[in-house]
């Protein structure tokens, strides 16, 4: 299915650019592909329902509550019930909305997320080896290019709602998405250099042959994880939907299933980014670093790791407060991007001089980063803050003249 892309083609952007976008969709479309896509779509829908239930359970127990309980055992059918409720709700639209744009915006947010699932290497299941819907040589380019299309849908939603909160939210979302695209690309470049390939399947194979990239690329992993959390607008980076400030941002005027599709896209993006992090940095469907236990069950190992990452993302959501937009930009441009370049240089060192210089360099970098962080902290707090306890004397008969 995969078409070999000659290296020369890469130097000629006009010829490969449309290819990146449509090759996985068009190239040799068969009935099997159709069934695969159909299965994938349904799988995502069900997985997202499960994920929402899990998130509500995690949230509940973190917050001394119990989470959903009543529909099904331990509330497991709560999400299907919610979907049914959303389907039956009235599809409201503001009078001043730009109706057509308002209607199609949710799909334009969901479709890019769905398309990105095509390139994920799920691993083996029984006789099937290394299930990928579209093994694609330019997968790393693709997974940067496609999810960014979400921005269009978000802007359309924000603009067409005719609501200033929605406009603010979509502006925030786009600023955030574009800023975090860069650190993400740079961290992916590190992976590409390490794997000497842009293919996700190849990335997983290289990790199986050597070591998981989370150990070889710890800085890259952290950057990718933070950037992907920011791209899907999860707490602490949820400034675009921030309920306490702009009341849901671009989604403020949506109701019923249209809102549900935004929600679906958001949770599918969580799943997607966790799966990508597993494929890129945590050995894909390998059981443990350097241990290929039962590759026939690769799918399960893959999902185990993905679920772990999803729970970590949820855990962060219910622990951390939200950053402000300028702090968010600072983080992307002043911290993640330079660190990404350092990571890239280290990857090059690994490829050119071998493991030992790389390990020394990595160690030095980590120490340097820690020192930088310390220096930054000290420099950031020039003003003495905090409170002190004052023991005010109890006045005698004469009341103090104050105020």
């Amino acid at each position: 299915m995969s078409t070999e892309t000659p290296a020369a083609a890469l130097l000629d952007p006009p010829s490969w650019m449309p290819g990146v976008l449509i090759a996985p969709i068009i190239g040799g479309f068969s009935l099997a592909d159709f069934l695969g896509l159909f299965a994938l779509l349904n799988f995502i829908l069900f997985f997202v329902m499960f994920e929402i239930w899990l998130e509500r359970k995690v949230a509940g127990h973190i917050q001394l509550r119990r989470g959903p309980l009543h529909v099904g055992p331990h509330g497991a059918l709560q999400s299907p019930a919610d979907v049914l409720k959303l389907l039956t709700k009235e599809d409201l639209m503001p009078a001043i909305a730009d109706r057509r744009i308002f209607r199609i915006a949710p799909y334009l947010v969901f479709v890019p997320v769905f398309l990105t699932f095509l390139i994920i290497p799920w691993g083996g299941l029984g006789p099937l080896q290394n299930i990928v819907l579209r093994p694609f040589d330019l997968a790393l380019v693709y997974l940067v290019a496609i999810p960014a299309l979400q921005a269009i849908g978000i802007v359309m939603a924000g603009w067409s709602s005719g609501n200033k909160y929605a406009l603010l939210g979509s502006a925030r979302f786009v600023a955030q998405l574009i800023s975090y695209e860069l650190p993400m690309v740079v961290s992916l470049l590190g992976v590409a250099v390490m794997a000497e390939s842009l293919s996700l399947t190849r990335v997983v194979d290289v990790q199986r042959e050597t070591l998981w990239f989370i150990f070889l690329q710890p800085i890259g992993f952290v950057i990718f994880f933070i950037a992907s959390m920011a791209e899907m607008s999860r707490t602490p980076f949820d400034i675009a939907i921030a309920e306490s400030e702009i009341v849901g941002g671009p989604f403020i005027e949506y109701s019923g299933m249209r809102w549900g599709i935004f929600f679906l896209a958001e949770f599918a993006a969580v799943f997607l980014n966790a799966a990508l992090a597993v494929a890129l940095f945590m050995g894909g469907w390998q059981f443990l670093p350097g241990l290929d236990l039962l590759p026939e069950l690769g799918v399960f190992w893959f999902f185990g790791k993905t679920m772990t990452l999803i729970v970590v993302i949820q855990w962060a959501r219910f622990t951390l407060p939200r950053l402000r937009i300028d702090q968010l930009m600072d983080l992307a441009w002043k911290a993640l991007l330079p660190a990404g370049f350092v990571n890239l240089i280290l990857s090059a060192v690994y490829q050119m001089y071998g493991f030992l210089p790389f390990a020394i360099g990595l160690g030095l970098t980590l120490v340097g980063l820690a020192l930088l962080l310390l220096a930054y902290r000290n420099q950031r707090r020039p003003i003495p803050g905090g409170i002190q306890l004052v023991s005010v004397a109890r006045p005698s008969a004469e009341p103090a003249a104050m105020g």
């Binding site: 917050q63 309920e243 306490s244 402000r324 803050g385 409170i387 103090a400 105020g403």
Partner: protein, 393 residues
Amino acid sequence: MAIDISDPSIDTLAPTESQIVEERNLETVEMTINMGPQHPSTHGVFRMVLALAGERVQQVEPFIGYLHRGAEKLGEAGDVEGYRKAVIWLDRTDYLSVWPNEHCYMLCLEKLAGLQVPERAEYIRVILSELGRINSHAMFYGAFGADAGATTPFMYAFALREELYSLFEAVGGQRMFPNYFRPGGLREDVPADFVARVGHVVDTGYRACDEFDRLLSGNEIFLARTQGIGVVSAERAIDLGLSGPVLRAAGMPLDVRRVEPYSLYDRFDFDVPVGTRGDCYERYLIRLQEIRQSLGIVEQAIRDLPAGPIMGNAPKALRPPKGDAYQRIENARGDFGVYIVSDGRSAAPYRVKYRSPCFVNLQGLNDMVVGAYVADAVLALGSIDIVLGEVDR
């Protein structure tokens, strides 16, 4: 904002020369957004009209009065039991610091009518007032966390408040509006297991405080969000008449419980937490510290709680002599005052007036918000800890 394409002067497809020139000197257009009265973080029905340049607030115009019920005027109504009815309406102004406010009303009325209060009753009043303060500050913690984007603090705060409300229910029969204090004493004595239950609540309170601190107080994101935000200097705070934690964060150790002690507060050891910069973070820290100080006061009061009657020699139908009285206390939000005028004849006050600290503290909003980001505006408003019931009365 939308371009009217039927307007012949605008060619939407090809920009004219003048349009291109215009684009070169791009200017930020102010956007006016209406925050509230239905907005999740305006703490009720407060409405702000913000003029924004991008994300920066250029101007803020607050609107209040959506929750106006005429609590003061209602306090004058009624030919029978008017002094009691006024308390019912007072309770519902500041629904979070009910106990201190009832306490203040009773102190004022006792001052006016010259009633003596038994010592046991006064101790119990202090205990409940301090627990009410803790309740309010816990609510602040939760709401402020939610303003900053963290959802979990709210639930932690409510776990503590549930304990407090159960205690209030055991003492006064009602969870929020107990109507338990009476001119000259209390409605009835506390239940037999009161001391043990308060002890339990105090333990829970200290534990909850540690949890609060661990979850949010040291969090770097939270620090970055709140430090240096919404600053009001001490001079400015005095000029505006701010009081309570907002004033103390600016560095003024002004607590009515200390500078003008009422009730039994001159008998207890407690410190006044004072900030240095007057930003949101210090207001937050001060409130958490005040929870601890209040727990300390409750411990002392429980230890010293004397036996004895709980009701003085108050007449059943109260008719204070002609005159007026003013009493100020420190409630959870600041310097709260009750002013009562009696005409000496009727069973209802001729005039009641509440000096509500939220309303006055809200005057600092302009200083805190202008020039900040929208996100900071929400936090600054939250750090004042307003209760709209009290602002609008």
